[in-house]
């Protein structure tokens, strides 16, 4: 617990559409203490002029409608309120929102893919609303690429008995800065599956949150990240159980390698007084492959009711297990390959959950590429290779 940490249930109370309600972060705030503000390129202090552009291309399933709307569209901003300064900045600065609607009872025949491409010439702000109407089922891919300084809010509004699966790929160029808030709002018996993959960017700060508007909602949120030298990849999860008999499961895993590779994972779960019968579990694991890399992992579970079905959390960050490596090497497998097998296994177990074959393979290939660069870094630094001799 930090020095000036408040009880968690008050930590997220502040929410407003008004930018003036949020002070410019200084880095001392609980919510900002891990983020290198100087690298945000002004997204947090109003200095990031919206001179840039992030292009949104949509390849939609035929059952889905896609609209580009103005700020005044009635469907925009209904399911959430910004909860931090950058989210509020994005809310106040975007010009066009993309609204995707999956009509009532529609079951989409293919994933809807949104490709967000940064063109690298200044800051940009975005807003996306994904509305899945009652009993509908949809699969969505968000594919972020290119170079950008980008802040956005995404609303996932999942209706009664509806199901939404989302894969969000942060596959940015090395210099990108991305601060994003995902807000999922689950109606009665709604299902939400989110899979976040963050490999790219200089600084990515992604805050996925889930709220429930009725009982029976089920949220499963997974994430994998691979942090290279100098990268700051931060994931801040918030699951706010305010309705009875809802479920949530969070499983984020990362690998880190190289000097000043920094991963941050915050997992806040609140089970409010009225959320009886809640079943929740959150897990974060980090594999630190070299010296100079750092993982901060902070699970917070606040239970305000006595009647939970299950509530737990776990966090573990550590080096490759010498015993794993020894066992594989004892079968003739060279150190580098043993290491690759273990890391691939560690992240691959989670990546297996991605149901879109094409995306799963792409993520595995990206992991493979990271592991190959990891190898050259490990060779250069020789931090752990020498221990098994």
């Amino acid at each position: 617990m930090g020095l000036n940490e408040k009880p968690l249930s008050t930590l997220h109370e502040k929410a407003s559409y008004d930018l003036a309600d949020f002070d410019v972060p200084t880095g001392r705030e609980e919510a900002w203490r891990f983020t290198p503000l100087a690298r945000l390129k002004g997204l947090h202090n109003g200095k990031a002029e919206a001179a840039g552009h992030v292009r949104v291309d949509v390849e939609a399933a035929p059952e889905v409608t896609v609209e580009t709307v103005g700020r005044d569209d009635a469907r925009v901003g209904k399911s959430f309120m910004p909860a931090d300064r950058v989210s509020a900045q994005a809310w106040n600065s975007f010009e066009k929102a993309t609204v995707i609607t999956v009509p009532r009872e529609a079951v989409t025949s293919k994933p809807t893919v949104l490709t967000l491409t940064g063109t690298g010439d200044g800051a940009a702000y975005g807003h996306i609303v994904v509305k899945v109407e009652p009993m509908a089922e949809a699969v969505l891919v968000l594919d972020h690429k290119g170079s950008a300084v980008y802040a956005d809010n995404i609303e996932f509004v999942v209706g009664d008995g509806a199901s939404l699966r989302v894969v969000s790929l942060q596959d940015w160029d090395d210099d990108a800065v991305h601060v994003s808030s995902h807000h999922a709002s689950l109606a009665k018996d709604a299902t939400f599956r989110s899979f976040v993959v963050t490999f790219g960017g200089d600084l990515v700060r992604l805050s996925p949150s889930v709220t429930y508007t009725a009982p029976g909602g089920d949220a499963d949120m997974s994430g994998v990240y691979f942090v290279d030298a100098g990268q700051h990849l931060e994931h801040r999860l918030l699951v706010d159980h305010s309705q009875p008999n809802c479920k949530s499961n969070v499983d984020y895993r990362g690998a880190l390698q190289g000097d000043r590779a920094h991963a941050v994972w915050i997992g806040d779960v609140i089970i409010r007084v009225e959320a009886e019968g809640t079943d929740t579990y959150e897990l974060n694991r980090n594999l630190i492959l070299t010296d100079g890399a750092r993982a901060d992992s902070v699970p917070n579970l606040e239970i305000l009711t006595g009647e939970v079905a299950g509530a737990g959390h776990a966090s573990a960050s550590g080096r490759l297990d010498d015993e794993h490596i020894f066992y594989l090497q004892a079968r003739g497998i060279p150190y580098d390959e043993a290491r690759r097998l273990v890391v691939r296994g560690f992240l691959g177990q989670l990546i297996e959950k991605i149901q879109i074959d094409e995306i799963r393979e792409r993520v595995m290939n990206a992991l493979e590429a990271e592991l190959n660069t990891a190898e050259s870094v490990a060779e250069a630094a020789e931090p752990v290779a020498e221990t098994v001799r």
Binding site: D322, E323, H324, F326, Y327, L328, Q329, A330, R331, G332, I333, P334, Y335, E337, A338, L341, V342, R344, G345, F346, L347, G348, Q349, T387, V388, R389
Partner: protein
């Protein structure tokens, strides 16, 4: 003809001296049993030969066909023809048995086996050891019972075809049926070519199935008595007490 030669091997763990000068030569075609009480250093010997990072060699040599294994990394030792069946095989999450075995066979042979051939070898090996084929898709040792882990160690030995195999208490924790299956595997391996076996065990019962040529009694970090198979019978009758007393 391969030879493993252990010369005056001294090993420490965390600055504690465990092996105090072990001398032993295992030739292809021979089976040596090392027997000794718990804590006498049998696993230390096995791990030190294989190169486990926790064990520090403070003196002596281990030569495989004249090559000093102690100069090699763990994987180089395995590729040189050494195999260690571990007393407690390690669970490796996310790495499937088939993927692991293919990587190991590729590394040891120096080239990837043809897929069909490998699949056939794997199936044959699993059948012979009564291992459910579904195990190929499972994570390495994860959730395996004690007996399943040991059978899986023998499967690896049969696939990797080492020159010298060190089997550390492969018999412990096995019921009679599993002990028979595992022993048959060891005997198949012995019959398969010029291979030597160093069989580490606490109990004599495996020696009814796997007949040793030589028996060595291990106590307090060194070999204290040597003999033929009849020495095992003596140990069966009298236990280790005289040796532990003598060396204490």
């Amino acid at each position: 003809m391969s030879t493993l030669e252990i010369r005056d091997l001294q090993v420490a763990v965390e600055d504690k001296e465990i092996l105090r000068g072990v001398n032993l030569t295992v030739q292809a075609g021979q089976t040596h049993a090392i027997m000794g009480p718990n804590g006498s250093g049998k696993s230390t010997l096995a791990y030190a030969i294989a190169g486990h990072p926790k064990y520090t060699v403070t003196g002596g040599q281990v030569l495989l066909d004249g090559v000093d294994l102690l100069e090699l990394s763990v994987d180089e030792r395995a590729r040189a023809g050494l195999f260690l069946a571990m007393q407690y095989p390690v669970e490796v999450p996310g790495v499937s048995v088939s993927n692991f075995l293919r990587s190991a066979v590729t590394a040891v042979r120096g080239e990837a086996p043809k897929l069909r051939e490998f699949a056939k070898d794997l199936k044959g090996g699993m059948d012979a050891l009564s291992i459910d084929p579904a195990f190929a898709q499972r994570n390495l040792n994860e959730g395996f019972s004690g007996g399943e882990k040991k059978r899986h160690e023998i499967l690896q030995m049969e696939l990797l075809k080492p020159k010298i195999a060190v089997l550390d208490e492969t018999d412990s924790g096995l019921d009679v049926d599993a002990l028979r299956v595992v022993s048959e595997g060891i005997n198949r391996f012995r019959a398969s070519g010029d291979t030597g076996v160093l069989l580490i065990t606490h109990y004599t019962r495996i020696l009814r199935y796997v007949k040793p040529d030589f028996v060595h009694v291990f106590a307090a970090g060194r070999i204290v008595e040597q003999g033929g198979p009849e020495l095992a019978d003596k140990l069966e009758a009298e236990g280790y007490e005289q040796y532990t007393k003598a060396s204490a």
